[in-house]
């Protein structure tokens, strides 16, 4: 078995028992990245030197007989909206041209403290606004399962990095499904933690009340280990939850007999016939293991997409005001006045989807419209939370497909934003309610992976990961990835 096929946990074990060095591992993933990136375009920059320096540090520790912690020495890829000190951070936007943050995101501090070699920064939809990684100013990213298809988005680059074995782990961010949807499209595990579980400090904001950083991995267990690394209260983020630390790997093997799972008909009934059949097979398989599935009603979910496209753009329109050409990033040099400089810099710097959302957001916040849109949307958001809350009094988890369809063709939806928005219909309600959600691969349909999404109550990631881990074993999505290595 190649290094590339090993799970992060197995890699870490092999570093600890000296079967493999962190340098060997890092070099193997870097080689795969160099080999495949020209076609896939999952990485915007590859930080080979820094990654090898970190790996060497780990190997020196091993040589000196020092004990390694957790995932120490295991490489990782980082979405390009998470700040790493002195490296360009673009959010796949021209407006951040030349910007190098003089600070690390809190998650990066943690990853650096653990000596995890960083392979590079991954491509994404511009400012995380998109579901296909096609809105990136630096080219599309291709799905390794079928390079004519999109990888999903907005964390497309991070999903592809893990899927195509360029990195055993990666970090993405999820505002309306930006981790779970590409994880599903690329056949990997993607976890969006509870809002406030992971510090947002250093994550360039799209919609502050919805954004959350989370892991991509080959296995549920790996995501649990990576969540252990990145979670925790942060004084620099007022919205981060101040709760006791826990070990998310502790309960992964707990039995799940008699588990009650709710399937919201609002989400499930929208599926087309043959895709629905694929999910019926999965449900049947899991039912055979003593899991009880019941169809439930979450009526407010019908409004989740509409309200999301009020709240997220509203926050974005304000969060993106700081890109004005004054202090950093792109500035139009020809402008003759202040207003012209700001207008031209922003017009040139932002892409079409970002502009569309700034316009929507500015509109719904403007006086006279605020009550009808923004305020109403916040009220609906409360109803969505209440619907989920009620469901969790009876059910352990909520089950649904992660996406209504497998990965679509490049260009297929880019001219129709509403159709594009619909690809997040399953994942958006979870962000609106601040809940943890995970996508795990469930089957292959026409050569493309499908995923299931599991959602649990706030701050119950431990239970969610336990259920996902058992489901993963039962589903046994075992794909020979040698094809990805040998292309």
């Amino acid at each position: 078995m190649s290094i590339l096929n090993l799970s992060a946990l197995n890699l870490s074990k092999k570093i600890k028992n000296k079967e493999l060095s962190s340098t060997e591992i890092t070099k193997a993933f870097l080689a795969q990245t160099h080999k495949t990136n020209a076609e896939l375009n999952s990485f915007l920059i590859i930080t080979e030197k820094e990654a090898l320096a970190t790996a060497a540090k780990v190997d020196a520790k091993v040589a000196a007989g020092q004990t390694l912690e957790g995932l120490e020495g295991v490489p990782i890829a980082i979405k390009d909206n998470i700040c790493i000190q002195d490296l360009p951070c673009t959010c796949s936007s021209r407006i951040l041209e030349g910007f190098k943050p003089p600070y690390n995101a809190t998650v990066i501090e943690k990853i650096k403290a653990l000596n995890m070699p960083i392979i590079g920064k991954t491509n994404m939809d511009e400012f995380a606004m998109g579901s296909s990684t096609e809105t990136s100013a630096f080219g599309i990213t291709r799905n390794p399962w079928n390079t004519n298809c999109v990888p999903g988005g907005s964390s497309g680059g991070s999903a592809v990095a893990v899927s195509s074995l360029q990195a055993p782990l990666s970090l993405g961010s999820d505002t309306g499904g930006s981790i779970r949807q590409p994880a599903s499209f690329c056949g990997v595990v993607g976890l969006k933690p509870t809002y406030g579980r992971v510090s947002r400090y250093g994550l360039i904001a799209f919609a502050s009340s919805l954004d959350q950083i989370g892991p991509f991995s080959q296995t549920v267990e790996d995501s649990a280990h990576l969540l252990n690394v990145i979670c925790g209260h942060d004084k620099k983020d007022s919205t981060s939850q101040n709760i006791a630390a826990e070990d998310f790997t502790a309960n992964l093997q707990n039995p799940i007999n008699g588990l009650k799972v709710g399937i919201p008909e609002e989400l499930y009934n929208t599926l087309s016939g043959d895709i629905k059949e694929e999910y019926e097979k999965v449900i049947k398989k899991l039912s055979g293991e003593g899991v009880i599935f019941e169809t439930i009603k979450l009526p407010s979910l019908d409004y989740a997409l509409a309200t999301y496209y009020i709240i997220a753009p509203a926050e974005a329109s304000s969060n993106l005001s700081r890109y004005d050409g004054v202090r950093f990033g792109h500035r139009n040099k020809e402008a003759k006045s202040l207003i012209e400089m700001m207008t031209k810099s922003r017009s040139e710097g932002f892409g079409a989807e970002v502009k569309r959302r700034i316009l929507i957001g500015s509109y719904v916040l403007s006086s006279g419209y605020y009550d009808a849109y923004y305020k109403k949307a916040q009220q609906v958001r409360t109803l969505i939370k209440e619907d989920f809350n009620k469901a969790f009094s009876t059910y352990d988890v909520i089950f649904s497909p992660t996406t209504p369809t497998p990965a679509f063709k490049i260009g297929e939806k880019s001219s129709n934003p509403l159709e594009m928005y619909l690809s997040d219909i399953m994942t958006i309600p979870v962000n609106m309610a601040g809940l943890p959600g995970i996508s795990i691969p469930s089957s292959i349909y026409n050569g493309l992976p499908l995923g299931i999404q599991l959602v649990s109550n706030v701050l119950t990631e431990s239970k969610l990961l336990n259920i996902a881990n058992i489901f993963e074993k039962v589903i046994n999505f075992n794909v020979n990835k040698n094809a990805f290595i040998n292309t």
């Binding site: 700040c83 600070y103 947002r200 400090y201 919609a207 007022s238 700081r322 004054v326 403007s366 605020y370």
Partner: protein
Amino acid sequence: MTSWEAVIGLEIHAQLTTNTKTFCNCSAEFGATANTHICPVCTGMPGVLPVLNKNVVEYAIKLGLATNCSISGHNEFARKNYFYPDLPKGYQISQFDKPICLKGHMDVVVEGKESKIGITRIHMEEDAGKLVHQGSDNIKGATHSFVDLNRSSVPLLEIVSEPDIRNAKEAVAYMEKVKQILQYLEICDGNMEEGSMRCDANVSIRKKGETSLGTKAEVKNLNSFKSVEKAINLEIERQIDILEEGGTIIQETRHYNEATNSTKSLRSKEEAHDYRYFPDPDLVPIVISSEWVEEVRKSLPELPEARRNRYMADYALNEYDALYITSEKSLADFFENTLKFINKPKDIVNWLMSDVAAYIKSKQLSVNATKLTPELLAGMISLLSAGSISGKIAKDVILEIFETGKNAQQIVSEKGLAQVSDEGAIKQAIEQVLQENHESVESIKNGKVQAIGFLVGQVMKKTGGKANPGLANKLLKELLGIS
């Protein structure tokens, strides 16, 4: 003219004297080299987040309690969105529909008449940075414009009054009262020149006896008490002229120019900004418990009224003097600190109201910014009351203290200013004076006894002001043989 009544409301911005800024750990100190008190948070870098400084909340509670406001238990911060190069995030974090203090009031006295000015609200917000232009005093026409972000995110309280003010004098009295309370609470230095207190005035007029409000204009850029008074009077006159000529007032924002004492329109209501306020999702609501409010209430210092009453009761000061001394906290503190060295309240007050007041006014300083300390003032008063120096010499000594910071005793001995009470020396001087002033001596002998005052004056002059005047008077009379 007299048939009109003005209706005025003030919005005052007070910059708080917390050590650090509102949402980061940078120093909030005024006057540092440009862009040295900055960090990723107050320069609006991507990905960073604000964390609220608890002292800002505490200062706001203090001011709310001192102005009889109710304190909101549930507080939210909102974003006020607009573009300007001194506003790094493209929005200012402020409070909108849930301010921390509501419905307070203050009593102000103008020409003996007391009136109650309502306070609509007080809210917390962060300041913007500062632009410096080259080639013009405005961004339009400047060849270069620089931004200094030291002030970015320094905490402010905005104090919004009810439209209860009726004339410019009352507006100034209200502002002075606000400044006084801010200083007593030690939450703002009240320095209008440095911009730590700023004011906008909303002005409208109506016929006397009417209860509905006229259309208002907002006058901005009032950077001194004098500006407030002049600009309001100017605006009232402008509005009266328009209405008397049959015109209508347009709701607008006007900019006051201190140099030309005139206002000009900045923007009309139609051109007003839409700030697209919404709750800041980066900050959680602040819950203020009644226990916290009570804790702050207990920590409140003695406020001006209470001090004034105490001075009248404990030190037998009259109301005028007590009002004067308590008008500024620094002055009242100086008074009390001087008392610790010498228990002569009336003497201290007299010096503070005369020579000290004149000096600090001429130098435009605060009482504690000179070389005169309470201990030095006490030392000087003590020499004077012991008869060691004369009142005239004392006036010179205090000037010398202001210049050098030396103590009075040292100045007196160095310059030989001690009062002369040696009879022989004074007699010698008297004899000379009598020889030089035959006419005066004659007229005294002829019954014009009041001319003796002139002769005492001459003796004082001869001795360089050092002769004990009482003794000089007594000896003169003896020598002239009058009783």
